[in-house]
Symmetry: C2
Subunit: 668 residues, 2 copies
């Protein structure tokens, strides 16, 4: 089944058997298996994922008793104490998913065999009717079996039985496509059939929806891989019944029917997964009310609820979206899983709408708030990704709630799938990294080769290595080149620089106008054609909308897609007592030996301190910045993304007083 | 009925008829009618209250249709639109209460007549069975009559029918005691009887509690004035049923039975009134479970939920207490009514326990967060009392929700009642201001005269003008003299100064030890005896517990009982961009011509700004501070109580990161 031309593995997939089902999106994904990464930046990340993250996740599943839970469920006993979390099974499924992706580009018989052995115990834990949830099955009488005295009774709350189903399907589909073997897929189908039988709108069924979404996306995949429409219907049921069951809270996006929602609220991962599931269902069914809702929600996120790092979910309480403009820095939650969910959502909206603005959000998330979640060596992880630290925070090799490490295990290997997309005779180039890609355009093969030092420089060379035919090469001109931090007014470039770009096709400069953020080169391409792209890589100063009180009087600094931060090892001064001068100039210093190769930014700044009499003084200092994703690799210490620059605003108050004075309550 | 010797007007009172009922507190209050204020600081406030605040409140009641509501209720009509708020009637009752207090020390026939005419329309609005709630009576069919289709159905939520009863009783008792006339008292008794009939634990009764407390305190007063125990029982029912009716939220302190509560939560005014009501009931019934609960709640407030100004209720949302240590400055709510409630609560705890620590809280609230709520001229009011402002906030002459102005109307005239208290042959001197007081000690008259320039200087002269007998004069040595900001570790003095005090009795220095914060002088006193008290009035630097993230790296400054702030008119620099040097020295500058006479504090400080190249620089500047209560009298502008002093901490991060890292959720 390894097939470098598989279209759209993540979204659509071949049906079991032969018939081809369509994912419904107007734009076709180009699977990661079609893209061979030759890049140093991402190559290093993929290698770390393959060689460190995935093996580590498997060993942690073993070491922490996650495998043992399946063994226990295979032989239930009143004596078993249900420990751990209700969704521990999913770490096994998610790691198998990541390993399956890895297997598709790096076949590994030993790994295959290991997975098969894990799947034997997974299968053994399944109850005869398909139900597979070790926390309950191992000892249904245990007072803390998460699921309660009967199946499903806690599914909208604590038990995560449908969440487990979702990750099981995601893992099983990936494993089936990587290996052609049905040993995981059949388990997932059996559990999915059990859920489809027992849960729904029917008289004999229970009307319940997932407490934690993901089954919606997963069931669409199962529909596409099996051709059985009941899975699609079940996904749609899970969405449409939301807000109509007894659970009606914003925390789990059940405060109103999904099609009436217009603001991102509640648990950020659940939310992003749900919006992604809505896109998947809408792509197939053409349901415009879903699309209308997620378009509004996306607008709300990018204009009021996203960090400059692309992170989402401001609050620790409930791991949730905050209010509009509630974007604290040191207490930013920005769960790694939520960043992954944000990529899922923006990718799907791109496939629906074909606008580069979704990839502006995706790229910002990818290079900053997402990969910050895993160490450069692949061996330790952030759960939250704060934008400032007082030095008491570091990545850990695993967590009691291990969703983030196992999610990283499955996300990173899929990264090459986000580089290209195809629609009829249009080829979208969405990300820039060195790679060789085999695409199908108008049913004919086109091979493209990218060479670049991105994200450290803005020069990219795209060569047509194969493919004599007419097609449009649509190059995404990133938002940061178009002087737009994000497709909203939430952040803006505060400096007066205007980066430019140049596109040279076979030595000839083109000046085509942009359409939806793409520069399209339409021609009859032939082997050996070369497109040279240059993006100005100016260090840029970003300020936040003044409603973001936590960034008031502060700026962040970025270059290309990379958001920078000040961290303690590079600076003599305390990064929390340094202020930028009013018109900082930044110089770029390449550091190939530091943190797997980075570019630093340096500028003059003022450190505040006291003289021997206790009088406050300023001292000239050089401030060094490093990429945000690379912080916390050299021990615990202070870090800061948003740097004070405007003394009056920095010390000034939030506009709270004015805000409440205007509410009319105090007026006569 | 005007009787300068009336004991304990606020708490106990003479029974209608003759029998004396006891308020139950071990310590007897000394009524404000027994204390003639000759003070310049408080004399000015009392004059402003009498001449400006009370007349203004009456004219606003008239102008805004509050009287008209009673007229409409006297002649109900389907055509009446119910406007305003559900508790607008109480502004009338509260202003009558304040005016009644005023009448007791400043008889005024015109004012008496005016009140009588108001009471005619109040009486006319009462339904035959006693129910008196104009918003419903004027048009019971109006969809927005607040009370709903039937009486009481919204009483735990919107309608405030019991809150109206509470303020009616408070006003009626005061009016009865001031004038001896029953025209208000009989209205209140009739409404109270209606509530006692319809609400309770009986089979024919509705089991409901007040949405907004105050009826508890008020019914105890009605019991003491009438001798009818059913009012005491009703007060106790309102307390004991709380947490057992359908309303069970923390917002209205109904999340659990009152005796199980141990943290101050929810709406701060409701809370403080409830705790005060619990003390009143417990004093009479001896119910130790009430006292145990309010003792714990008091501990929680003073150690985790009170501002340095004595303000309580941190949050605008719900006008509520925040979490422990949640004490933001610019968005501090600190409702004026909550400060008044805080005085009520601490006064009652003093009467129960006889410890000066309650008066430390009371004095801090009184001189800072309470009187800041009313302008020096008595004509405009703060609803919230923030500890920092960006200049968009000023006092207003009235509010749509006018609880604070009318509460100030009734509080300020009662102030002299907080100066003294008596227990057997012990005389407590709790507050220091120039006055002449006639006390009853061991059934014999004692006249004391205080002379002082307090709070601007710490010299007080107490003369025994009458009273040859043996008694203990118990002088409160304020917490700020005992080096204790509050009776908890929430705030502490950061300087190394040790203020001292001296007590000289007839020229002879005494060095008695303190007991519960009091220095007791026991002797056979005779006319002409003089006690001279000296408290060191050092400007002091206060820092907050490090858990108060909003005060991190900052200090506040105080002198005597007065908390200071930096305000724009006194300073060349922007008060939000100025930092104190590490070891600031403050000099005291008397300004008798400024803001009705204040002492300023001045110190060297550093203002941050930029040179012409945009480089950050510090500039020497003189920072001038004024009393917090006196801010916002010279136009809108910046103000700040907590001043940055520690650069590393001031710019440093809250400890949030560490906090959530420790919650175990992320641990393996």
């Amino acid at each position: 089944m390894k097939n470098v031309l598989t279209i759209a593995l993540l979204i659509s997939t071949n049906m079991v058997g032969n018939a081809q089902l369509n994912h419904g999106y107007p734009i076709d994904p180009v699977s990661f298996t079609s893209v061979t990464v030759t890049d140093s930046f991402w190559g290093q990340r993929l290698k770390a994922s393959r060689e460190v993250t995935i093996p580590l996740a498997f060993s942690k599943c073993e070491e922490t008793g996650r495998y043992e839970n399946f063994v226990k469920a295979a032989h239930p006993s009143d004596t078993y104490k249900v420990e751990g979390l209700s969704f521990d099974d999913t770490d096994v499924y998610k790691t198998i998913e990541g390993a399956s992706y890895s297997l598709q580009t790096y076949p590994d018989k030993k790994l295959q065999k290991y997975i098969d052995s894990v799947l034997v115990i997974v299968a053994a834990a399944q109850e005869p009717d398909g139900y597979l949830y070790t926390a309950r099955t191992m000892n249904p009488k245990h007072p803390h079996n998460w699921a309660g005295k009967e199946r499903w009774v806690a599914v909208e709350n604590l038990s995560h039985e449908f969440y487990n189903l979702g990750h099981m399907i995601e893992g099983a589909v990936a494993h089936y496509q990587a290996t052609g073997k049905r040993n995981f897929l059949d388990i997932a189908i059996k559990y999915a059939d059990c859920v489809c039988r027992e849960i729904g709108d029917g008289a004999q069924q229970k009307k319940l929806v997932p407490g934690h979404q993901i089954a919606e996306m997963a069931l669409v995949k199962l529909y596409l891989v099996t051709g059985d429409k009941k899975y699609l219907d079940q996904a749609k049921f899970f969405l449409d019944a939301r807000g109509y069951t007894s659970r009606k809270d914003a925390y789990s996006q059940a405060h109103k029917p999904v099609v009436e929602q217009d603001e991102a609220v509640g648990h950020a991962v659940r939310a992003a997964y749900m919006y992604s599931g809505m896109a998947d269902v809408a792509a197939i069914t053409g349901d415009s009310s879903y699309i209308k809702a997620i378009d509004k929600i996306w607008d709300n996120i990018v204009s009021k609820k996203i960090y400059v790092t692309g992170g989402i979910g401001a609050r620790h309480a409930g791991e949730a979206f905050g209010n509009n403009y509630e974007l604290p820095n040191s207490s930013a939650y920005c769960e790694t899983c939520a960043a992954i969910g944000n990529v899922y959502m923006n990718y799907r909206l791109f496939l629906l709408h074909g606008d580069a603005k979704y990839f502006d959000v995706l790229e910002r998330t990818l290079y900053n708030g997402l990969i910050s979640g895993v160490s450069l060596d692949g061996g330790s992880f952030f759960y939250p990704n704060p934008l400032a630290s007082n030095g008491k925070y570091s990545r850990k090799p695993w967590f009691g709630c291990a969703c983030c490490p196992s999610n990283v295990s499955r996300f990173i290997p899929s990264l090459p799938g986000y580089v290209y997309a195809v629609k009829d005779n249009q080829v979208y180039v969405n990300l820039y990294l060195s790679n060789k890609a085999e695409l199908i355009v108008n049913k004919k093969k086109v091979v493209l080769e990218q060479e670049t030092g991105y994200p450290w420089n803005g020069d990219i060379r795209v060569k047509v290595a194969q493919g004599n035919q007419e097609f449009a090469l649509k190059l995404r001109i990133p938002g940061w080149v178009r002087n737009e931090v994000l497709p909203s007014g939430l952040y803006s470039y505060a400096d007066n620089q205007k980066p430019t770009y140049r596109i040279i096709v076979n030595g000839q400069e083109t000046a085509n106008t942009l359409n939806n953020g793409y520069l399209s080169i339409e021609r009859k391409w032939k082997k050996g054609d070369v497109v040279k792209i240059h993006f100005d890589m100016l260090p840029r100063i970003v300020k936040a909308n003044e409603k973001v009180v936590d960034d008031k009087g502060r700026v962040s600094v970025e270059r290309g897609p990379i958001v920078y931060c000040a961290e303690w090892p590079d600076n003599k001064c305390n990064v929390h007592t340094v202020l930028l001068n009013q018109h900082p100039q930044f110089k770029v210093v390449e550091k190939p030996e530091l943190l797997y190769g980075i570019s630093q930014l340096k500028t003059d700044a003022q450190a505040l301190s006291y003289d021997k009499n206790g009088k406050l003084i300023t001292k000239d200092t050089e401030l060094t910045l490093i990429p945000y994703y690379a912080w916390a690799h050299r021990g615990e210490g202070d870090m800061k993304v948003w740097l004070p620059i405007d003394v009056s605003a920095a010390s000034a108050l939030p506009q709270e007083v004015q805000k409440w004075e205007d509410n009319g309550f105090f007026k006569n």
